[in-house]
Amino acid sequence: MRILEGEGVRKNFGGLAAIAEVSFHINQGEILGLIGPNGAGKTTLFNLISGSLAPTAGIIRFKGENITGMKPHQICKRGMARTFQLVKLFGNMTVLQNILLGSLFGTPKSILQSDAVNDSSKLLEIVGLSGMGTILAKDLTIVNQKRLEVARALATKPELLLLDEFMAGLTPTEVSLAIELIKKIRDRGITVFMIEHVMKAMMSVSDRIIVLHYGEKIAEGIPDEIATNPIVIEIYLGA
């Protein structure tokens, strides 16, 4: 089943087409990777899907429903969450409060405060931040800030999670922990759509990969196909 579907999605910034007629889909339960050189429009595509930006043309469907032009908070309540390339945390609030907000506001039905606190503490454990609940988010290391952002997104009980360069700037050990976390998230039944530059990680974790270049989709397929695709090698991977 297709959980997310885009048809002829386009975004113009003035005369520049940041995304030009891109069609894509994500199957329920898979991990889909999105790669491409800097400026290819990867984050723009995420912004269109999550509602940060409205597309110039095209339709985006989430679980069969047309979500084009909806606001981020409406899309979130329908079961989609995301993280940001540059972490956007509530820096002067505690780690627990950050997650708590996700679980208090992100779900369509309102939830008891005590249940929200329980859920949030569990999420702290899952992403590996247990015992850090009372620390201010801005005082965390970058890795932990990224983990917190994932926890906050998970707190909204998403069916689809968009990860924007979750592994950028991490050490090799941290990358392998991140891969484990992503697999753990998928095993909880959450579909993952991720932008990543760390190719090794991308190849090992993705079920399928889409390649963007200057706002156009130039390739799509399983990791092995992408790794051997001559156009992708020429433009992005390098010989």
Partner: protein, 312 residues
């Protein structure tokens, strides 16, 4: 969160205790004390309601005078036609409606653009009222039906208590947390399901309701008003100063800031009528320089200082 829960009962009990004293006090104190307390109550309401919105969201509004002034004008126009409590309610309600409109029209403004917009709005309303009065009604000022000080006192006390209760409940609810998150990162707040625009507009409108009611009752104290009295920009600046002076993040700090500065102004005005503004300004500058977290930050400073000493 843990700290918020352990203090859950402390402040409400303190407020109930104080309000009981306040309710019983009038027969035993001088009229001068009542008038002074009315001023203090007025500034506390203005400060707490300003900080209700501007504190957590970091949207610095300089429009308090606009909504306070609307309350004053509602009182001047309708004061002799409707019962006092209805007039006060209307003062708040009209402010609330105007704030909804203002909120809707200024959604895209952030940071200092929002601040300048609110200040401009306040001035625009002042000049519009002035133009209307001169060209349409043919007057500059208006008379306000007077009300005795004790009645003003009890009504102000009631408004004050309602403001404090609303501010306290909001601050400790999930919406209080959401307002803080908006101040930290609006985009992130939007993406975790918070309806950022609705939260901002409704909170802003609620905060102006209290300003409007306060204007409507305090108008009776002046007996004569004109646009430059009713929409005096000082009513926009004072709540900001008082909140910063006391400690913007705590309701207690806001109350403290408003009370201390009102008392200080009163003392300076009577003891040093010629240097009043000079001294007042100097004290404000010193506090902002040395106590960036306000009076409530003093506790932390003292603690830090003591810890520093014990290490020597």
């Amino acid at each position: 969160m843990r700290r918020a829960i352990s203090k859950k009962f402390f402040y409400p009990v303190l407020v109930i205790f104080f309000s009981m004293i306040m309710v019983m006090m009038p027969p035993y104190v001088s009229p001068y004390t009542i008038i002074l307390l009315n001023s203090i109550f007025m500034y506390i309401v203005l400060t707490v309601s300003w900080a209700l919105f501007s504190g957590p969201t970091h949207y610095l509004s300089l429009a308090s005078a606009a909504f306070f002034g609307i309350g004053i004008y509602v009182s001047a126009i309708l004061g002799d036609k409707l019962p006092l409590l209805v007039v006060i309610g209307l003062g708040g309600f009209i402010s609330f409606l105007l704030a909804l409109l203002v909120g809707l029209s200024s959604l895209r403004l952030r940071g200092m653009y929002f601040t300048i917009f609110t200040f401009g709005l306040s001035e625009l309303i002042r000049h519009s009222v002035q133009w209307w009065e001169v060209n349409r009604t043919g007057t500059v000022g208006r008379w306000v039906i007077g009300v005795d000080h004790t009645t003003v006192y009890y009504i102000m006390l009631a408004i004050l208590l309602i403001t404090l209760v609303v501010a306290y409940i909001l601050k400790h609810s999930k919406y209080g947390l959401a307002l803080l998150s908006i101040g930290e990162s609006e985009e992130a707040a939007d993406h975790i399901g918070i309806n950022v625009n609705a939260m901002k507009i409704i909170t802003f409108a609620i905060s102006t309701f209290f300003m409007g009611t306060t204007g409507a009752i305090m108008a009776t104290r002046w007996t004569y008003i004109d646009p430059s009295i009713a929409f005096n920009p000082l009513f926009s600046f004072m709540p900001v100063l008082m909140a910063i002076f006391g400690g913007i993040g705590h309701i207690f700090g806001q109350i403290l800031g408003a009370s201390v500065l009102t008392l200080l102004a009163d003392v300076l005005l009577t003891k040093f009528p010629y240097y009043y503004m000079l001294l007042y300004g100097m004290i404000l500058v010193i506090v902002v320089l040395f106590l960036p977290k306000g009076l409530t930050g003093l506790k932390e400073e003292v603690k830090k200082w003591q810890e520093g000493r014990s290490f020597k």
